[in-house]
Symmetry: C2
Subunit: 393 residues, 2 copies
C-alpha cells in the first residue's frame, strides 16, 4: 500500500453552512463583570428553588432504578403530570401523546428529522427564535419567513406562503415570543389554525414562556383550535430550571411514532435521574410556590425596565410591554442601527442583542432585544440609563 496519506473529506454540506448562534458568540463579549448585560436569555439563578430541587434528587436517588436505562418516551409519572396540565388547560392529552425531550430544543431537532427532508420548506415567524433557525438549517430545510406587522401576523401572507411553498410546518412561539416578547391574540390563533387546516400543513407551537404570565388572561393553545394539525413543545427550563434539560413534545399518530424512533436514535432517552427528579418535584407541590416567586420578581423587573426605558431612551424610540415572558423588543428612532449602537453600548458597559440576526428575510436594523429577567430593579435602571447615554452619544 502506498504510504501517501489522502485528504480527508470535508464536513457535510449542511454542517458547512451552519454557524454558531450569533447570540452565543456575542455573550462572550459581555462577560466582563462591569457590563450590565440585557443580552442573555438566562433565568435568574437566585430564584431557583435549590433546596426543593435538591430534595427531589435526593429522594429519587434512593433507588438504583433511576440510574438504569429507561424508555425512549420517558418517565411515565412525568408524562402523566404534563398530560394532566394540558388537559386542565383545555387540550385533552394522555401520557401516551408525550415524548420527554432533552429540553424543548431537542423537540425542534426531532420534528425536523420526522417531518423534513432536505429542501422541504418550514415557515417561520419574522423575526424568529435563533436556535430554531439553526436547527432547521442543519436539517437542510428551506426557511421562509411570514411577515408580521405592528397589528400582528399577516394572515393573508401566511395563506399565500402556504399555497406557494406547501410547507411541512409553520414554527411559532405564540406566547411571549423570543426575541420580541409579543403574543398572538385569540383571533390570530384561530386564523392560523384555520389556514393550517385549509392548506394542509402542521403547526409547531413552542411554548417555553407560557407559564411566565404576570397579568392578563391566559391565551388558548393553538392545539385547542386544530388538534390534529398542532404539535406542541414545552419545557421546564423557564419554570423550574434549565440545567435539568427537561422538555417535551406533544403529538399524535404517525408523528408520535416517528418521534419516538427519532428520540431513540438521537440519545436513547433523556436522563432517567433528571426525569424522576422533575416528576418528584412537581408532585411535591413545591413548584407552584417557586413559580409564584419567579413571576412576582420578573413582573417587578419588567416594570422597572419599562419605567427606565421611558426615562432614558431617545425620542422616537418605541417598545412593547409584554404581559409576561423574559424579553421586550425595542425599535430605535429612524436612521438608527442597533448593531452600531451595540458598539457604543459596550463602551458604556451595557449590552443587548441587535434584532438583525433573528430575521430570515430583510432585517429591520433599528430593532433590538432586551431581557428583563436577569437583574434586580435598581441594576436594570442603571443599565438602561447607560443605554440612554450610549444612544445619545
Amino acid at each position: 500500500m502506498a504510504p501517501l496519506v489522502s485528504d480527508l473529506p470535508s464536513v457535510s454540506q449542511r454542517a458547512g453552512s451552519a454557524r454558531t448562534s450569533p447570540v452565543r458568540d456575542l455573550l462572550a463579549l459581555t462577560e466582563r463583570p462591569a457590563v450590565i448585560s440585557f443580552a442573555g436569555g438566562l433565568p435568574a439563578p437566585e430564584l431557583f428553588d435549590v433546596d426543593g430541587i435538591r430534595a427531589a434528587y435526593d429522594a429519587v436517588l434512593s433507588s438504583p432504578s433511576v440510574l438504569q436505562y429507561s424508555t425512549s418516551e420517558g418517565d411515565s409519572s412525568l408524562r402523566t403530570l404534563v398530560a394532566a396540565a394540558y388537559t386542565a388547560d383545555g387540550v385533552q392529552t394522555s401520557a401516551d401523546d408525550l415524548v420527554i425531550t432533552t429540553g424543548s430544543q431537542q423537540g425542534l431537532g426531532l420534528l425536523s428529522t420526522v417531518l423534513v427532508d432536505p429542501g422541504d420548506v418550514i415557515l417561520v415567524e419574522e423575526p424568529c427564535y435563533l436556535a430554531a433557525l439553526q436547527t432547521f438549517a442543519l436539517a437542510g430545510a428551506r426557511i421562509v419567513a411570514v411577515p408580521h406587522g405592528d397589528d400582528g401576523i399577516d394572515l393573508d401572507a401566511l395563506d399565500r406562503a402556504a399555497a406557494v411553498h406547501a410547507p411541512k410546518f409553520f414554527y411559532i412561539v405564540p406566547t411571549f415570543q423570543n426575541p420580541t416578547g409579543r403574543s398572538h391574540d385569540v383571533e390570530a390563533r384561530r386564523g392560523i389554525a384555520a389556514i393550517a387546516e385549509h392548506r394542509g400543513f402542521r403547526i409547531v407551537e413552542d411554548e417555553p414562556y407560557r407559564q411566565l404570565r404576570y397579568e392578563g388572561t391566559a391565551l388558548p393553545s393553538l392545539a385547542a383550535f386544530a388538534p390534529d394539525h398542532v404539535l406542541s413543545l414545552g419545557s421546564f427550563s423557564k419554570v423550574i430550571a434549565p440545567g435539568l434539560r427537561i422538555g417535551w413534545l406533544r403529538s399524535t399518530g404517525d408523528v408520535r411514532r416517528a418521534a419516538t424512533i427519532a428520540k431513540q436514535a438521537a440519545d436513547l432517552h433523556t436522563s432517567t435521574i433528571d426525569q424522576a427528579a422533575a416528576a418528584h418535584y412537581l408532585a411535591s407541590g413545591r413548584g407552584d410556590a417557586a413559580l409564584d416567586r419567579i413571576r412576582t420578581a420578573y413582573a417587578q423587573r419588567r416594570d422597572a425596565m419599562l419605567e427606565a426605558l421611558s426615562a432614558h431612551l431617545p425620542a422616537g424610540s418605541a417598545w412593547n410591554a409584554p404581559e409576561g415572558g423574559m424579553f421586550l423588543w425595542v425599535r430605535l428612532p429612524e436612521g438608527a442601527d442597533a448593531t452600531t449602537a451595540l458598539t457604543h453600548a459596550l463602551a458604556h458597559d451595557v449590552a443587548f442583542v441587535p434584532g438583525a440576526p433573528f430575521y430570515s428575510g430583510a432585517a429591520d436594523p433599528r430593532t433590538l432585544r432586551l431581557s428583563f429577567t436577569t437583574y434586580a430593579p435598581g441594576r436594570i435602571h442603571e443599565g438602561i440609563r447607560r443605554l440612554g447615554v450610549a444612544l445619545a452619544g
Copy 2:
C-alpha cells in the same frame, strides 16, 4: 376560505423508512418475570454505586449554578478528567478536544449531522450495533457492511469498499463489540488505520465497553495509530450508570467546531446537573472501587455462562469467550435458525436476541447474542439449561 380540511403531509422519507429497534420491540416479549432474559444489554443495577452517586448529586446541588444553562461543549471539569484519561491511555487529548454528549448514542447522531449528507456512504462492521444503523439510516446515509471472517476483519474488503464507495467514515466498536463481544487485535487496528489514511476516510471508534476488561492486555485506541483520522466516542453508561446519559465525542479541527454547533442545535447542552455530578463522582475516586466490583462480578458471570454453554448447548454449537464486555456470540449447529429457536426458547422461559437484525447484508441465521451481565451465576446456569432444552426440543 373553504371549510375543507386538506390532508396533512406524511412524515419525512427518512423517518418513514426508519423502524424501531427490533431488540427494543423484543424486550417487551421478555418482560414476564418467569423469563430469564439474556436479550437485554442493561448493566446490573445491583452493582451501581447508588450511595456514591447520590452523594455526588447532593454535593453539586448545593449551588444554583448547576441548575443554570451551560455551554454546548459541556462541563470543563468533566472534560478535563476525560481528557486526562485519554492522555494516560496514550492518546494526547485536551479538554478542548471533547464535547460532552447525552450518552455516546448522541455522538453517533452528531457525527451523522456533521459528516453525512443524504446518500453519503458509511461503512460498518458486519454484524453491527443496531442503534448505530438506525441513526445512520435516519441521516439518509447509505450503509455498506465490511465482511468479518472468523480470523477478524477482512482488510482487503475494507480497502476495496473504501475505494469503491468513498465513505465518509467507517464505524467500528473495536473492543468487546455489541453484538458479538469480539475485539480487533493490534494488527487489525493498525491495518484499519493505515487504510483510512491511505484512502482518506475517517474512523468513528465507539468504545463503551473498553473499561470492562476482565483479563488480557488493554488494546490501543485506533486514535493512537491515525490521530487525525479517528473520532472517538465514549460513555459512562457501562462504568458508572446509564441513567446519567453522559458520553463524549473526541475530535479535532473542523469536526470539533461543527460538532459543537450540531450539539447546540440538538439540545443546547447535556444536563448541567448530571455533568457536574459525574465530574464530582469521578474526582471523589469512588468510581475506581465501584468499577472493580463491576468487573469482578461480570467476570464471574461470563465464566458461569461459558461453563453452562459447554454443559448444555447441542453439539455443533460454537461461541466466543470475550476478555470483557457484556456479550458473547453463539453460532448454532448447521441447519438451525436462531429466530425460530427464540420461539422455542420463550416457551421454555428463556430469551436471547437472534443475530439477524444486526446484519446489514446477508445475515447468518444461526447466530445469536447472549448478554452475561444481568444475572448472578446460579440464574445464568438455569437459563442456559433451559436454552439447551429448548434447542434440543
